[in-house]
């Protein structure tokens, strides 16, 4: 049964697929479940199922409804934008193959938005906090300027092998969704509040909450870059302030759900070691 090829599985293939979607009409509105049914086709992924659902815009009871909204980009699991909770597990919908999902759970496919981010509509979420975390730890190499800085220093093979997996992060949010220490922050716009005021209020709220494993890992990556190192102290300051690496609870869910298999818990431990050294230096070096 395990080695079942297309012939063996085709017997169990249904003609219709049942899909249950957790919908939400807008930010802050109550979510509700809705059932849809689409024609089965070979080699579908959840995105193609969602395309069919949007095209028919009709529930399995036959009621006409607004098309289900979702986010997607690359369709090859490198952009991270189509991340959602599929059959209870957070993952990318483009690489969630329907045949595999039906093998595990033949009755239906359950789709819901990530629970740690504010829902914009249906399966679309606002992941701006994820990117704000990257800003907090300055996850970039500071090379502003027009002059030629010449060739950079050589990076040893060992270091390359350590850094390459970290560079594969696509900011999808799986690690944050699975993390018990990363809690949802959802603010509502106050009456008469401008875009800038609302954005500033959100950033202030994000700034004291846990940065998340992805940002810790990126801080470790850029701290080991020969030029990125220039910002090491600022990154360590961010990682040792409120919501820094000490807010990690070591549940290690992040590394278990990461679609890129990034060694996030190793990055967290490295950041922890660096934070210990940084805290001692801050106390006794100056």
């Amino acid at each position: 049964m395990i080695a079942a090829g297309p012939e063996a599985t085709s017997k169990r293939r249904p003609s219709k697929i049942n899909v249950r979607v957790l919908r939400q009409d807008g930010p802050g509105l109550p979510p509700y479940w809705e059932r849809h049914q689409v024609e089965y086709e070979p080699d579908m992924n959840v995105i193609s199922v969602l395309q069919k659902i949007a095209a028919q815009a009709r529930t399995s009871e036959g009621n006409a409804v607004a098309p289900v909204a979702w986010d997607c980009g690359c369709l090859e699991e490198v952009c991270g934008s189509c991340t959602m909770v599929i059959n209870g597990r957070v993952r990318q919908s483009c690489s969630a193959l329907v045949d595999r999902l039906l093998e595990d759970h033949p009755e239906e496919i359950e789709l819901r938005p990530m629970t740690k981010f504010p829902v914009i509509r249906d399966l679309m979420v606002d992941r701006s906090r994820l990117f704000h975390s990257l800003k907090r730890v300055k996850a970039w190499v500071p090379v502003d300027g027009y002059f030629d800085m010449g060739a950079g220093p050589r990076i040893s093979r060992d270091e390359q092998e350590q850094n390459y997996p970290l560079s594969q992060c696509m900011s999808c949010g799986c690690c944050l969704e699975a993390c018990p220490q990363f809690n949802k922050v959802e603010l509502q716009r106050n009456p008469g509040e401008s875009d800038e005021e609302f954005a500033a209020r959100k950033e202030a709220a994000y700034s004291v909450e846990f940065v998340g494993p992805h940002a810790i890992s990126q801080a470790v990556l850029f701290n080991s870059h020969p030029v990125g190192k220039n910002l090491e102290r600022e990154r360590m300051e961010a990682l040792t302030s409120s919501g820094g690496v000490q807010a990690c609870g070591n549940a290690q869910n992040c590394v278990a759900v990461c679609p890129k298999e990034i060694p996030l818990t190793t990055s967290i431990a490295r950041a922890g070691r660096a934070a210990t050294v940084y805290a001692f230096k801050k106390l006794f070096d100056r």
């Binding site: 699975a178 018990p180 070591n250 549940a251 869910n253 818990t265 190793t266 431990a269 490295r270």
Partner: protein, 255 residues
């Protein structure tokens, strides 16, 4: 906690061994200062910070049934158990405060503050068996929760402080912590079992003899406040000031 459990488990080797260990602890200078500075205040600090940390997270074990997530959730559950256990335990045996009015009007009438250091094993055995099997079960569960919390806490602290980095290193550290936890758990259960099974009457005879010899040998100062006779029976009987006065005179007279 390790020192505490090992000391307590010495009761399994005999009432005299345990009583000697308690005498040794009570011979430390400024004992209340040591108690507050190195035991009570750190525990209160840990309790406050621990509850704040536990409330900062939301377990999702129902959705992600992973080993690490299980340990994360149990670390918080055992933390809460340890909080209730330690504060009850200190109240039950120590009484929280030394003030007489507190001990006489609040703690002792409700069966708390039961431990008398110079009658260590007998007062402990009486306290453990005062509510049938309830106290032994409470202590066994509480000790095991504390041991898990410590062993698993050493492992997670090792990650947070950056001692063990890679999954392999963390797995090795995990085995070491597991071994440590099992060992300390056995020590803790030995202590609980020994306290429950000790015969109070026989233990008290030994302790009183040891007290007498220690006082006569100038190894300790007489202190009826730390004795069952002085504390519990002395206050109700009229003869209570007697021994407290006679022994110091005997001591000074022999010098």
């Amino acid at each position: 906690m390790c020192v505490h459990l090992v000391t307590n488990s010495s009761l399994a080797s005999g009432v005299d061994v345990f009583q000697n260990a308690v005498f040794a602890i009570h011979s430390l200078p400024f004992l209340p200062v040591i108690e507050w500075l190195f035991i009570f205040l750190p525990i209160i600090f840990h309790a406050v910070v621990g509850i704040w940390i536990a409330r900062s997270g939301h377990s999702n074990l129902n959705r992600y049934r992973l080993a690490g997530n299980r340990r994360y959730t149990w670390q918080r559950i055992t933390g809460y158990i340890a909080f209730v256990f330690i504060f009850t335990h200190v109240f039950h045996l120590h009484g929280w405060f030394h003030a007489d009015w507190w001990l006489k009007t609040v703690a002792e009438p409700i069966g708390m503050a039961q431990f008398d250091p110079y009658n260590a094993a007998s007062s402990l055995a009486n306290a453990m068996n005062s509510l049938g099997i309830l106290w032994p079960i409470f202590y066994a569960l509480g000790v095991l929760a504390c041991v898990f919390h410590l062993a698993n806490g050493i492992w997670t602290a090792g990650i947070t402080w950056g001692l063990w980095l890679t999954p392999n290193a963390q797995a090795r550290a995990s085995y070491v912590c597991l071994g440590f936890g099992i060992l300390l758990g056995l020590v803790g259960l030995t202590a609980t079992g020994a306290a429950t099974r000790t015969d109070p009457a026989a233990a008290k005879a030994t302790e009183d003899q040891m007290y007498k010899v220690r006082v006569e040998g100038l190894m300790i100062k007489p202190n009826e406040h730390k004795r069952t006779d002085g504390r519990r029976h002395g206050h109700s009987s009229e003869a209570s000031p007697g021994p407290t006065l006679i022994i110091p005179q005997a001591v000074t007279g022999s010098r």
